[in-house]
């Protein structure tokens, strides 16, 4: 940077410190007024955000599966389990998204039984949507295997890494 430019920058900074910043402070503190900048979020917004998070999560899983198919980073049982885990997580995502969506379509009186949890029932008429909603609620049949396969995968990765390090240790 040339000396001329440095001098110019220093002068601008001095101007900002001496004049602009005190002026802004004066305007903010001395002349308060409603800014109307805060947006109020309603109750359904949380569910939408949660559903969008599901979509984002599913997109990431599809992306990773695609990458692993196009450009495999390795082979063996660990990678096989890892891919299975991703597939189950993806299915679980689709299932939970569907359940969230169906829950929005249900009547307020679709779940009956009062305040006690173990008295809760899905009220008739039991059309396909309600059946789908009911069966979809058993989402753990997807996420538990997904987590199990992830554990198996990590365990095999560990074994491989230990084997590699052991071999290197023997060689050294």
């Amino acid at each position: 940077m040339s000396t001329r430019k440095v001098k110019s920058f220093a002068a601008t900074r001095a101007f900002a410190v001496k004049l602009v910043i005190p002026l802004l402070v004066l305007l903010v503190v001395g002349l308060p007024a409603p800014a109307c900048a805060v947006q109020v979020h309603g109750a359904p917004e949380g569910l939408y955000v949660h559903m969008l998070a599901h979509v984002f999560f599913a997109s990431a899983l599809i992306f990773l599966l695609h990458i692993l198919r196009r450009r495999p980073m390795g082979s063996g049982s660990a990678w096989r389990y890892f891919k299975l885990s991703l597939i189950f997580f993806l299915i679980w995502n689709v299932d939970t998204f569907l359940v969230h969506w169906l829950s929005l379509r249900l009547d307020e009186n679709a779940i009956i039984g009062g305040s006690r949890l173990w008295h809760h029932r899905l009220a008739p008429p039991l059309d396909w949507e309600r059946w789908l909603f009911y069966l979809g609620r058993f989402d753990h049949i997807f996420c538990v295997p997904a987590m199990y396969f992830l554990v198996r995968s990590l365990r095999d990765f560990c074994a491989g890494a230990e084997q590699r390090l052991g071999r290197t240790g023997e060689q050294s």
């Binding site: 998070a53 039984g113 173990w118 029932r121 008739p124 039991l126 049949i141 538990v144 992830l150 890494a161």
Partner: protein, 520 residues
């Protein structure tokens, strides 16, 4: 029983599933942590660690919904769940987002990491080879220097020891370096005397130089180019040149390097061989003709002599008969010469003779006729001239031929010089017969020993004298050289215009002695 589907199995499944999720996620976290500790540099393990962390958060947040809800329900505090429910959902969402962001971000980090690892590997390899080179650099330099030195010595020996001329020229054709053989061949003492000379200055024929230079420039090389070089002393050398252009890195011509083989001796031998073959073919022809003519000539001569006897006293008839007899004898002599030339007869007897004495005998015979034409003989006979072993009669014939030729060359009034001397270094005896006559034209000097070649008028010479003499001297193991004008200052100062130098080997005497002993 109430209508609808009970949620109890669902909640039970949620409770059990959520519990399993927490256990499994913690287990996964444990393995992931272990992996990161085993291989800290592995970006995949880092990703899996944070993925597991997010999944633990997910599992825990879900457990709030699926486990605490029941606990609070059973504890009689269902309101507590309503407070916690938004936090559970929010945490779930955050966990999903975290997993998604990590996954998308991981791939880019993975690619960058792969590139870094590749570069690191390349750097490590380069570092290793550099270290290796550094360790062995001195040895390698020493080895290469030794190889270079050996190569230089080899080519230096080849250059200096070659018996052929090796020379280098710059782009303009000036000689930049030449080996010792070249210096000797061109008659110089040091290479510095030649360096800087233009190569064209050594070419006897300018047209040949132009052809050589153009061909070398056009083709970049020239092979087996025959050229005649003029040496420092004015003598000529026939050379066979093979040259190639030297080009720089930018392919521009920087000069040429050439090897020249001396073919002078080879050419002389070839010329002599051609002459010998010519003479042999002419000899065969002459032998045939002479054989056929000799008998009729004998008959003509015999009958002429008989007729002369018959017409003894009748001058009117006798005079023409004598002319016929004389001309027939001339024919017989020519035929005899031809036969002698063709047969290369060595029938005569070899004996040890003194050249000086032999010359005196010949001169005593011809000197009278020379004096008639006011031609005088100048004798300069060497005192230490040894005897040679030759056929006396045939040598006399040669000497008579030479002196007669000198006589014809002078015509009237002049000097014939006769010298004899002995060259001890080559054991050769030299007879020089010179004359102050008209000399020999350069264009015919190369042909004077050819049979039937003569510059004399019709009827005066047969063109066989010198051919026969040449053959006789060759039979003696000698040679005849002719110079017109002579090169030696002594001969020039004596007024000689043409000299014939007859060289006879003295060793033949020894051969005769051993032969005689063998016979004895």
């Amino acid at each position: 029983m109430s209508p609808g589907l009970p949620f109890l199995p669902v909640y039970t499944g949620d409770f059990v599933g959520a519990t399993l999720m927490i256990i499994l996620s913690l287990q996964a976290m444990r393995y992931a942590r272990r992996l990161t500790r085993l291989e800290r540099q592995n970006v995949l393990w880092t990703y899996l660690f944070w993925l597991c962390a997010a999944l633990v958060a997910l599992a825990v947040s879900r457990s709030i919904g699926h486990i605490l809800r029941f606990v609070m329900e059973l504890a009689g505090c269902p309101i507590g769940w309503q407070v916690l429910a938004p936090y559970s959902g929010g945490l779930n969402s955050l966990a999903f987002m975290a997993v998604a962001v990590l996954t998308f971000y991981f791939y880019n980090v993975y690619l960058v990491n792969e590139r870094v690892r590749q570069h690191a590997r390349a750097l490590a390899e380069a570092h290793e080879s550099l270290q290796c080179l550094n360790l062995t650099l001195e040895e390698q330099v020493e080895e290469r220097t030794l190889e270079l030195s050996r190569s230089e010595q080899k080519f230096r020996r080849l250059y200096e020891g070659s018996k052929d001329m090796i020379f280098f020229c710059d782009v303009n054709g000036r000689i930049t370096d030449i080996n010792d053989s070249g210096v000797e061949l061109l008659g110089y003492d040091r290479s510095q005397d030649i360096v800087g000379h233009h190569l064209s200055s050594f070419f006897s024929d300018e047209a040949k130089w132009a052809r050589y230079f153009c061909s070398l420039n056009a083709n970049g090389h020239i092979k087996d180019f025959e050229a005649e070089f003029e040496c420092r002393d004015g003598s000529h050398r026939y050379l066979l040149i093979t040259a190639s252009a030297v080009r720089g890195e930018d392919t521009t011509r920087q000069g040429c390097e050439a090897i020249a083989k001396d073919l002078t001796h080879f050419k002389q031998v070839t010329d002599q061989l051609i002459q010998s073959e010519n003479m042999a073919s002419v000899g065969q022809l002459a032998a045939g003709v002479a054989h056929e003519i000799n008998t009729p000539l004998g008959i003509i001569l015999g009958y002429t002599q008989l007729l002369e006897e018959d017409f003894e006293g009748n001058n009117e008839v006798l005079e023409p008969l004598r002319i016929v007899e004389k001309q027939t004898k001339v024919c017989k002599r020519i035929v005899a010469d031809l036969l002698r030339f063709s047969r290369h007869t060595t029938e005569g007897e070899l004996c040890r003779i003194s050249i000086n004495h032999c010359l005196e005998e010949v001169l005593s015979v011809v000197e009278h006729s020379l004096n008639m034409d006011h031609i005088y003989v100048q004798r300069v006979f060497g005192e230490d001239v040894p005897e040679v072993v030759v056929d006396r009669e045939r040598l006399r014939q040669v000497l008579v031929n030479m002196i007669t030729n000198a006589h014809h060359a002078i015509g009237k009034e002049g000097i014939i010089g006769v010298w004899t001397r002995f060259h001890s270094h080559c054991r050769e005896l030299e007879i020089i017969i010179g004359d102050t006559g008209c000399g020999i034209a350069p264009e015919v000097i190369g042909r004077i020993f050819d049979p039937f070649f003569t510059t004399k008028g019709v009827g005066k010479g047969t063109g066989l004298g010198l051919s026969v003499s040449f053959g006789i001297i060759q039979d003696f193991g000698g040679r005849i050289d002719v110079f017109s004008p002579p090169r030696e200052a002594m001969l020039v100062s004596a007024g000689m215009r043409t000299v014939f130098c007859i060289f006879l080997p003295v060793e033949a005497a020894g051969a005769l002695v051993s032969e005689e002993k063998g016979r004895g």
